[in-house]
Amino acid sequence: MRMTVFSDFGRRPLWRGIAVILVMMASGFGIDRLAAQDLRIAVSSEPSSFDPHFHNLTPNNQIMRHAFEPLIFADESQNLSPGLATGWQLVDDLTWEFKLRPGVKFHDGSTFSADDVIASFERVPNVPRSPSPFTSYVKGRMLEKIDDLTLRIKTAAPDPLMLNNIAQVMIVSKAAARAPTEDFNSGKAAIGTGPYRFNAFVPGDRVVLDRFDEYWGGKPHWLRVTLKPISSNPARVAALLAGDTDVIEAVPTTDAQRLKADKNLIVASALSNRVIYFHLDQYRDVTPFIRAKDGSEIKNPLRDVRVRQALSKAINRPAMVERVMEGEAVPASQLLPDSYPGTSKNLKPVALDVAGARKLLSEAGYPNGFKMVMHGPNGRYTNDTKIIEAAAQMFARIGIEASVETLPPAPFFSRASSGNNGHPEFSFILVGWSAGTGEPSDSLRTLLGTFDREKGTGAANRGRYSNPQFDAILANALRTVDDKKRAALLAEATDLAMNDVGLIPIHYQFNTWAARKGYALVARSDEYTLATSVKPAP
């Protein structure tokens, strides 16, 4: 048909000129990038810096992991394995000894040693204006050099999370350790040991990395990696379809099925460490967004465990996963999928039980339900608004008249955290949580531990759930160095809080990537998009 429309195509000089230009442009896209070992990745948000100690945030961390490495690696399922440290052991309860990897070169040609680790750990708490510092991973850990490749870390109290935490600390060359963030952004100080080295960082536009040929861990496959932020979901998908990028992260659930059916693409997903859940106000006698059906003030029903159980039983998790998430999630029973250490194996996702929920509500003294406003962010988590709306309909079936108010993330988190004179403002909110360290101790401490500034617990406990028994078991777990015993204690704490319905877990998200045919992807649970996870298809 195109031939008839442009019947004089190629005859007139103007058309011919345009055709030549178009062919030239098209040929630019036709380069065999796979053979040229040139990889282009479209990410969903841009990193704010190239300084590995500046901003603890996924879009930054994932790019940092190309150029820098920690002492201990976390693999795609967040299992720990030797990184720049080859082995470690406990000398006594308060002292860890690490053997460092010999023969590791930095990008500037210098040799890696214990001094670089010490310099990096000293740098972490001293990055000026860091919006989200890595300080908590190094705090209270004293480093001591034994020899060039042996290092001891001493702590004041037993430190069971040592390995998980230092796995988050990137090692920079001691030559760069005093450099300001700008020097990392410009590349001058961006000296790590990672498989790819800094080539260019153009804020808002791209990060370009080149292969580091002297990498200790075997030659990285790609000669050049370009990461471009495309924040608009449909535009990111379109860029992949148009062949302008080879790999995209954060495939929108609405497109996942379609992309899977496309023969020119491959899709890979992994169960993430991110749980989507409801937090319920349990600290106020009267909660502002719950009223009797006639609008009169009532006692906060969410303080009654039977009401919390009823709400959890009213949620049809399989339907939520199937309809709202289009299959890109699995129903949740706790804060982390039970394949992770420290999770409870006793818990199953709460099943839909409308009759049981109504009965519990009656027993609690709310046979006719109540009125409730649910709050949530819009655009922070996958399909967040749709999830709340679906839940509101499910609550209607047990007689709770729920209405939904979603806000942009900025005002939502501000009000949900401190909108009521420094305390949470809302009554019933949707939030998500990702367990970056691959075990649940941070999640339990921060989301369910009693809000206590002195002890540093419950900072994100926006429901203010508080159970002294839970706090005691958790505190015990955080002191227990033995992995098995600690895991058992964490599981016990989880059992307790979930049976108490301290919060209502809904589902764990999938992390989904897509690539053009000819590529092979390893999907990761920690949401990190890494060039090392992409290979040519065998």
Partner: protein, 325 residues
Amino acid sequence: MTAFILRRLLQSLIVLLAMIVIVFFGVHVVGDPIWLLVSPDLTQDQIAEVARQLGLDRPIWEQFAVFLGNALHGDLGISFVHGQPAMKLILERMPATMELALFALVLALVIGLPLGLYAGLRPERASSRAIMAASILGFSLPTFWVGLMLIMVFAVILGWLPSTGRGPTIAVLGIETSLLSLKGLSHALLPAINLALLKVSLVIRLTRAGVREVLPLDFIKFARAKGLSETRIVLVHLLRNILIPVVTVIGLEFGSLVAFSVVTESIFAWPGMGKLLLDSIQRVDRPVIVAYVMLIVVLFVVINLIVDLLYCLLDPRVRLQDQAS
């Protein structure tokens, strides 16, 4: 004229100050940025320490006083998110936005003027009516939808043009531009069309209205009677007269092209300052938002001034004076 310019600048300063106050306190009402900045697993003390470093622990009026004091010394604050001076972040991305706006403006004029002239000179023809109908579409279609459709058709289905991003840049007099290479132009074409669409419609309608208005006037009749060629009448006598409103509007629209390229930039992943603004608003990065608004106010002031001065050139009858003087 000097007095006119001086007084104009003084008025602008007041506008600028008013905008700063509105934006500064407006952003504060949106929410406390700290909760979107910190990693959620930090303890209360660690969060408080970040707030202290960023100055967010102080009362808002105190933060404002600090900001004003620094602004007088030319320091517009440091981005919460990037840790870099806000103005530097914006200026880094300004060339990308400027070139896109300029490209869109040229497209608007190159497409809009001839079509508008044609529709004005031959109003009865079906093709003229089609142009006017299309211009209504251009006005009413939402930018983000048109952008996605352009990507779908020209990048995904036909594969003629790249879907997103800015092409390679070449430095000219210290300014990086992507408009000087074929590949760069191919990247800029779709976003520029998307950005220009509304302006094309605007220029068409303005030009047509101008032509219809000027055509029956005496001086055109006189020119005809004098036996001047139709081409000369249209291109010299007619065009010069209708250019005044077009220049005014286009001048002001250039400001809005720069200021509101936000949607286009975010859909086409164009690394300009509009996308920076959008990201900054989402993260409540107040220093960047305030600096951006200040820059845009200054831009509009300068454009208005240029438009006024251009008037003088286009129409000798116009004298720049204030009502007061």
